[in-house]
Every structure is written in structure tokens, then in C-alpha cells.
């Protein structure tokens, strides 16, 4: 259909821009913030309430080094792996669903979609910066999520009701910071887009 409409050569480009550049990193970061960020806040918040963090500090064990750093490193790596898994499964699922749709409609629209075609188009459309940002974006997001989660947890006053409050705060603020960081990182592409536009004009 896209061929009929004259969009033959942008299939890969659209996939790269939508899934690999934007949706993949952002959605994985949101999922990780909701699942792991909140659990990290509750975990460290509980330790603060039980004065376990204080106990660590009085033993000379730096809570930042003992509690926050493993979370930070693990979170960054996990977000990176999750991002690759998300992008891959999004593209694969899209392909499979299209195939199912074709099979159900008896190929009414006469579409010849092959995996070979799709993967070559995507790989063709990917630039070096895309490969770079697949690594950089999730790492930045992972660091933001875990740092924010630990920061919120460490600042809980000795009051058990503050733990759910801090958890909510940590998730919502993580969302906000992720979007801000994404806009900031995407500025790089904007220069690219503007160059393309000015070329056309």
C-alpha cells in the first residue's frame, strides 16, 4: 500500500524514527521507572525508616556507595538491555501482526511484505548516531531513574507515611526528568531535520 502511495522508501525511516529513536527508550524508561524505580524507593525508604541507613553510616559504610551505586549501575545496564528487547520485539510484533492481517483479509490490498525487505529497510535507514543513541539514551534514562528514586528515598523523614508519598514522587518526577532529557538529547536530531528541510526548500 505504501508503495502505491509513494512511500516505498520511507518504511525503514519511519520505523527507525518512531520505534528505535523515540518510543523504545522512552517507553522502556517509563516501565522501568514504574516498576524498578518505585521498588527501589520503597526498599531504601524502608531502610531509612528502620534507621538501617543510619546504622550503615555509623559503621563507616557509605550508604551512597553501598546502596545507591549498585542500583545506579544495575539500572543503567537493565534499561539498556530492556531498550534493545523492546525495540526488537516491537518491530517483530509489528511484522507478525501485519502478516496476520494479510492472512485474515486474504491479501485484499495485495501487499508483499517480507522480513528480508523490512530488516534491510530499517538497517539502511539507521545512521551511526542511531546506533550511538541506542546506547546513550537508555544509560542516561537509567541513571536518572535510579538517582531520583534513591534521592527521594534518602530524604524521607522518620515517618512511615512518607514512604508511599516519596514513591509516587519518585515515579512522577522520573517521568518528567526522562521527557526533559529526551527533548535535550533529541536536539541533536533537530539540527539534522532542519538541515534536511532547508535542503528541500
Amino acid at each position: 500500500m505504501m508503495g502505491k502511495m509513494g512511500f516505498d522508501d520511507v518504511v525503514g525511516g519511519v520505523m527507525v524514527v518512531v520505534i528505535i529513536r523515540e518510543l523504545g527508550p522512552i517507553l522502556t524508561a517509563f516501565l522501568i521507572a514504574g516498576r524498578s524505580g518505585s521498588s527501589l524507593t520503597t526498599y531504601i525508604g524502608g531502610m531509612v525508616i528502620n534507621s538501617e541507613v543510619d546504622a550503615l553510616a555509623t559503621m563507616g559504610v557509605d550508604p551512597i556507595r553501598y546502596l545507591v551505586m549498585p542500583g545506579l549501575i544495575g539500572g543503567a545496564i537493565a534499561t539498556f538491555i530492556m531498550n534493545i528487547m523492546f525495540s526488537t520485539s516491537a518491530i517483530c510484533a509489528g511484522f507478525v501482526m501485519t502478516k496476520v492481517a494479510i492472512a485474515l483479509t486474504g491479501n485484499a490490498i495485495n501487499l508483499q511484505l517480507t522480513w528480508d525487505y523490512l530488516s534491510t529497510e530499517i538497517l539502511k535507514a539507521m545512521t551511526l548516531t542511531d546506533f550511538l543513541f541506542i546506547v546513550v539514551k537508555p544509560l542516561v534514562f537509567g541513571c536518572i531513574i535510579t538517582t531520583n528514586a534513591c534521592y527521594q528515598a534518602m530524604n524521607i523523614p522518620r515517618d512511615i507515611r512518607q514512604v508511599p508519598k516519596a514513591t509516587g514522587k519518585s515515579v512522577i518526577q522520573s517521568f518528567f526528568y526522562i521527557v526533559c532529557a529526551d527533548v535535550f538529547l533529541s536536539l541533536f536530531y533537530f539540527i539534522d531535520y532542519f538541515n534536511e528541510i532547508s535542503k528541500i526548500i
Binding site: 524502608g46 531502610m47 531509612v48 528502620n50 534507621s51 538501617e52 541507613v53 543510619d54 546504622a55 550503615l56 553510616a57 555509623t58 559503621m59 563507616g60 559504610v61 557509605d62 550508604p63 551512597i64 553501598y66 534518602m154 530524604n155 524521607i156 523523614p157 522518620r158
Partner: protein, 271 residues
């Protein structure tokens, strides 16, 4: 060589200083925070204390007087609004008075609730600070942990998690953990509360051993005044937001001050 283990000069602490954990946060510049604000309620105002090396001292007083808060100040967990703290003769400026900095000077604190790390077994709880600071080889650490567990009689519970233990057991593990670090100055928050008579009687000789064998300076916060009598140490009371002159148990018992009349009344009548 300084003979003083701890010197507090004119410590002021407001309720604001107790909020949150400030284990490593540097104090804001004096420009932003100007000490005591007018009309602010103070928990401790103008406490002075000098503890010599190797000395044991008890801090008594009614509940809510700020005994535990004073220990938090000494261990760097709470930040006093004003006053000077010297640990082993070294003045610690307020912006460096953090728990990590104080812990570097071999000060240990036993919390009232034990404060064991809840996802580690008893064995690992005791070994945690040793492993973190890399005190010797793994075999040496294992030996030390076993010794600490033997001392506090928690060897049978080495593979238990803290939530499986009773409060008294948790406290014994916490004391073992502090002991394993070999602190020069040990702060104990209510060590005998929650312990039965048998364990209490075991704990007191242990404290006694620590100060004679390792020359540990010990500060005990307690409402159990008999501890001071059995250890034969001086008691100071936190009353009217200030610390009184340290005196021996018998001096307090037969003293004529308001505190000794109020707190030792039962002990006097029972003989």
C-alpha cells in the same frame, strides 16, 4: 597524646536538627543557616561533657529528654545548631560533622532497635562493615565474626534473618556487630532494654571486659540506673536541657539535689 575521648562544649540542638538522615550531607553555608532561630524550641541547650579515654559514663534522665538525640549528635547523625564537638582531642567543624566522618574516627553506635540490615543473615550483618573496610583476609574476618557471635551467644542463630529474631536477640547481634569493628569509643543506646535478666547479667561483664581489655571508652544511655551501679561508672543526667555534673551512683543516691530526690526515691526506700 590526648587523654580525652570526647568533649562537648555548649551543644544546642533543636527539633529541626533531628529530621531525616544527614549521614553525608554537608552543612549549608553559615550564610543561609544562622544557628538558632528566635522562638525555636530546643531539645538540648548548652550541654557540656568531658569523657576521658577508657572511661565509662552513663547518661540518664527521663524519657523525651533527648538522651538518644544526644547520642545521635555525637555520632554525627543529627546536627547541632551550635556548639563544639571534640573526638579524641580533635575538633570536628560543623560542616564536617557527618556520620561517615565520625565513624572514621572509630566511633561505634548501637541503636535502640538494633537496626540490623534486614536482608542479610546474622553472620553477614556482623561481617558487613569488616568486609566493606577490608579488615584482614576473608578467613580472619570469619574468625572475628565467629568470636563476636560467641561473645554475644548468637552463634546458633548465625544463619537466621533479623526478622526471625526477638528484639533482645537483635540487640545482641547489634552489639556484636559494633564490637567486631573494634571501636575506640562505643555509644550504646539503651543496651539493657528488652533483654531478660539472664542476658542482662551476661551483657554487663562483657561491657566491663571491653573497657578493661580493649580500653574502649563507652557511653551508655540508659534509664536503668542499676547498670551504672554494677559497672561502677559515673552517671550524668540530662535534665532541664542540660547535662549535670557526672557523679558516682552512691553520690547521687545520697545527694541532696532535685534529680537525686526524684529519680533515686525508689532506690532509696528499697535500700
Amino acid at each position: 597524646m590526648y587523654s580525652e575521648a570526647l568533649r562537648l562544649e555548649d551543644i544546642h540542638l533543636s527539633y529541626r536538627g533531628l529530621i531525616g538522615t544527614s549521614f553525608s550531607k554537608p552543612r549549608p553555608l553559615g550564610f543561609f543557616e544562622s544557628g538558632i532561630q528566635p522562638g525555636e524550641q530546643e531539645l538540648i541547650s548548652g550541654a557540656n561533657l568531658v569523657v576521658q579515654k577508657g572511661e565509662t559514663i552513663c547518661i540518664g534522665g527521663g524519657s523525651g529528654q533527648g538522651k538518644s538525640a544526644l547520642l545521635r549528635v555525637i555520632s554525627g547523625l543529627a546536627r547541632p545548631n551550635a556548639g563544639k564537638i571534640y573526638i579524641f582531642g580533635e575538633y570536628i567543624p560543623p560542616e564536617r560533622l557527618t556520620a561517615l566522618n565520625v565513624a572514621k574516627r572509630q566511633v561505634g553506635l548501637v541503636f535502640q532497635n538494633g537496626a540490623l540490615i534486614s536482608n542479610l543473615r546474622v553472620r553477614d550483618n556482623i561481617a558487613l562493615p569488616l568486609r566493606y573496610h577490608k579488615v584482614g583476609t576473608p578467613a580472619e574476618i570469619e574468625d572475628k565474626v565467629r568470636m563476636a557471635m560467641d561473645l554475644m551467644r548468637v552463634r546458633d542463630y548465625a544463619d537466621f534473618f533479623p526478622h526471625m529474631l526477638s528484639v533482645g536477640m537483635q540487640k545482641r547481634v547489634a552489639i556484636a556487630r559494633s564490637w567486631a569493628m573494634g571501636p575506640q569509643l562505643l555509644l550504646m543506646d539503651e543496651p539493657t532494654a528488652g533483654l531478660d535478666n539472664y542476658n542482662r547479667r551476661n551483657l554487663l561483664p562483657l561491657i566491663d571486659n571491653m573497657r578493661t581489655l580493649f580500653k574502649t571508652t563507652i557511653i551508655i544511655v540508659t534509664h536503668d540506673l542499676m547498670v551504672a551501679k554494677e559497672l561502677g561508672c559515673k552517671i550524668t543526667f540530662l535534665a532541664n536541657k542540660q547535662l549535670t555534673e557526672p557523679r558516682y551512683f552512691d553520690e547521687w543516691l545520697h545527694g541532696d539535689t532535685a534529680i537525686s530526690k526524684e529519680l533515686f526515691r525508689d532506690l532509696r526506700t528499697s535500700g
